[in-house]
Symmetry: C2
Subunit: 439 residues, 2 copies
């Protein structure tokens, strides 16, 4: 483990009682977000147990000083872009200050307690204005499984183990957890038909991904060396890259996914910082014996040694029938961020290697992070083998792809010996029926 | 011709003497942009001849009223997003008011003359904060020519004449005309090699495209019917989708172009409005006898009747040797916006058909608009047949692809019987050498 400090200490407890032992937001986490109450304006906060501490109110009441004060002030515009732009130093200073304020025995405990909001009474928003959203394809087990459906003899394309494959996504499609969306209409060519038709997507799917928030980023024409790339990652979230498989199959040649992805992308709204995740860093181990050595611009020894993440990822399904029966969500997948073939630093270095400028508030998706076995499938495409093998649900129902009213719920948790477990908070959304197709 | 009014009248002349007979910006054009002088802040303006009229100053001096005043006020933030959000009504009102102010004989001519800036002393900027940039593939002659290089027997993919193919581009890559950029480094696999290497792009190309500015756009989940789509187009520009062909060939499977495009995209900075282009509307004629009927969501009789544009597009090359010798730029291509297989309204309707929200300030590229013959090739990929057939330059040099110091210059002009010709202004940029590849 690297960069473990007092803010992670296993004995550290908060005077916010519900934070101690909290599965997501103990005092060792302290993720950053943007929230509102009722019709109030959006403001920055930090999650602590079942509460949110108002950062602007901390500033107003003089609870912060120095670099932590500068960081909190940068978060006062209703988005976190300016805070992400400051980079690791001010973000760490803010973490240290908030950890002290929220720890047992702080002298201003009573004042700080008056600046807490019950999270259940707040709305969480997309925490930054996203300049560009890029979706990678780093989940090698997903790439293998999807490739096998189309090319059984050569599932991985020749470039896969050399190039961190990615594509530009649609920034406007990104919504915070809890925002329902309509099943998309789209153009697709049914099997056996010679002509396409247009109507509600028949093969609606989810994709289980890690989201990566960028800050501060680079200037145009200036690449970020892989050894410095971690300094341009401001934090992490969960990301559901909802996918219309029938639309995708018909539209994607030759320029890649377009309307099959741009109708909705759901993220967990809290930015879990690299500092909070320090105890869950591991060596990069997704490359196999005999795999090609990455090119030098993608290779850094320290990144290989501790640049991967060990965070459990889960995907659950809650159908209308299960909801009506009071049943718990059904787990579709248990996977892990370790299954990414490329580290986040490699993604950053590759993305900027042509001089492309990354800006504070840019968002990456990792690509679908499936595990090696069927219980780790991060999409229904894999789990039902392209819809050919429906999965059985505990209430007797089944699914090939998602139906109206279905909800997909992602969770993520880091656990490690000697560390307090932390979570990302939920990434969930309900599928609403398609609007009437225009005729 | 539709929507022709007094602002287009062929006898209309301006008291700005250099506007009369101006190849780009006569009083019949009045494109909108964002400019600055020296270190001054960015402000909105309208091009008139070799000058720019300061919109904020017009507001301050009481030259505007009603909807025109509201439109000009919306342009006061240093970007035109809020003006684009207002839609056609206020934009038209502003055009009518500006046309009157700038026409011969206006009572406030002396005051307005004091609010002019010499365009040559101003810097023009990207006129709006681009939320998302989408690049279409609507140039059928380009798609045919590129397809023939790879699939001589079946150059067009089966979806081409059904789906307005597009992909998400990189918003951060968009620069205003005149901003030089570095040749990108990138990963590519040389012919005959089994492994890729990394270094300066060897096959740097341009793509001649029409740019389309969106406003006001739609809310998530709500498609824009094709018959209403023209109302969500705020204007047009030229767009150079610079392309690294060697990088593209190696990276693009299975998710499409990524770093081969994201290093730079150059646009002409003036937004030429749909009102200014009204005299250059023509029937959609790019579909051939026997082509499939587009699906109903893409079909509108009025759009087919007058939804295409007849604007000449030119691409010129100026090499360092030509520049040193004082030679004029060499014309590589003369093409026309008529060669788009899909109208702009069809692009808007398709893009939003899945509920994807388009926002004011979003930018579309049309795709490379090549003509049917070799003199209309909108890229070197076509002109040199993938680099196999170098083109000869008038000074004795030749080109397969672009070399350092080369400048590509696009121009666009609308001409029609009974109308004053207008232009878009130049879209130009110089290729700088690649930075040292990181090792």
């Amino acid at each position: 483990m690297t960069n473990i400090d007092a803010t992670h200490h296993i004995t550290l407890q908060s005077w916010v009682a519900d934070a101690n032992g909290h599965a997501e937001f103990p005092i060792q986490n302290l993720p950053l977000g943007i929230f509102s109450r009722g019709a109030d304006e959006r403001r920055a906060g930090v999650a602590i147990g079942d509460h949110i501490l108002d950062l602007g109110a901390c500033v107003a009441h003089g609870l912060l000083g120095g670099a932590a004060l500068a960081a909190a002030r940068a978060a006062s515009s209703g988005t976190l872009n300016d805070l992400l732009a400051l980079g690791a130093g001010p973000r760490r200073a803010l973490r240290v200050a908030l950890s002290a304020i929220l720890a047992n025995g702080h002298r201003a405990q009573d004042l700080a307690a008056s600046l807490l909001h019950e999270a259940a009474r707040c709305t969480l928003h997309v925490p930054a204005a996203i300049g560009d959203y890029t979706d990678f394809y780093a989940g090698i087990h997903h790439a293998l499984a999807v490739g096998k459906l189309f090319r059984p003899d050569a599932p991985l394309l020749p470039n896969y183990k050399h190039v961190p494959i990615g594509y530009h996504g649609r920034a406007s499609s990104v919504r915070a957890s809890g925002v329902a969306f309509h099943r998309p209409n789209g153009q697709r060519k049914p099997a056996g038909s010679t002509v396409p038709d247009f109507g509600p997507c028949r093969n609606l799917d989810f994709e289980l991904e890690l989201g990566i928030w960028i800050g501060p980023g680079n200037t145009p024409g200036t690449a970020i060396p892989v050894g410095e790339a971690a300094g341009h990652v401001a934090g992490f979230c969960l990301l559901n890259d909802w996918s219309a498989r029938d639309v995708q199959a018909w539209e994607y040649q030759p320029l890649g996914p377009f309307l099959a992805k741009s109708f909705a992308t759901t993220i967990s709204p809290w930015i879990v910082t690299p500092e909070a995740l320090a105890p869950f860093r591991v060596a990069q181990a997704a490359r196999s014996e005999g795999d090609p050595q990455p090119l030098p611009y993608l290779w850094d020894a320290a990144d290989q040694h501790a640049g991967a993440l060990d965070v459990d990822l889960e995907a659950y399904l809650l159908t209308p029938a299960m909801r009506a029966a009071g049943q718990a969500p059904f787990r579709l997948a248990l996977s892990n961020t370790r299954y990414a073939y490329w580290t986040v630093a490699q993604m950053v270095a590759h993305h900027s290697s042509n001089g492309c400028d990354l800006r504070p508030g840019d968002l990456f998706g990792s690509g679908t992070l499936s595990g090696p076995a069927m219980d780790g499938c991060g999409s229904l495409l894999e789990l039902t083998e392209g819809g050919r093998t429906p999965i059985a649900l505990p209430n007797g129902g089944s699914r090939r792809f998602l139906e109206d009213g279905d909800e997909i719920i992602f969770q993520a948790h880091g656990t490690a010996a000697g560390a307090v477990p932390i979570g990302f908070g939920a990434c969930r959304a309900v599928v609403l029926p398609a609007p009437s197709p225009l005729s």
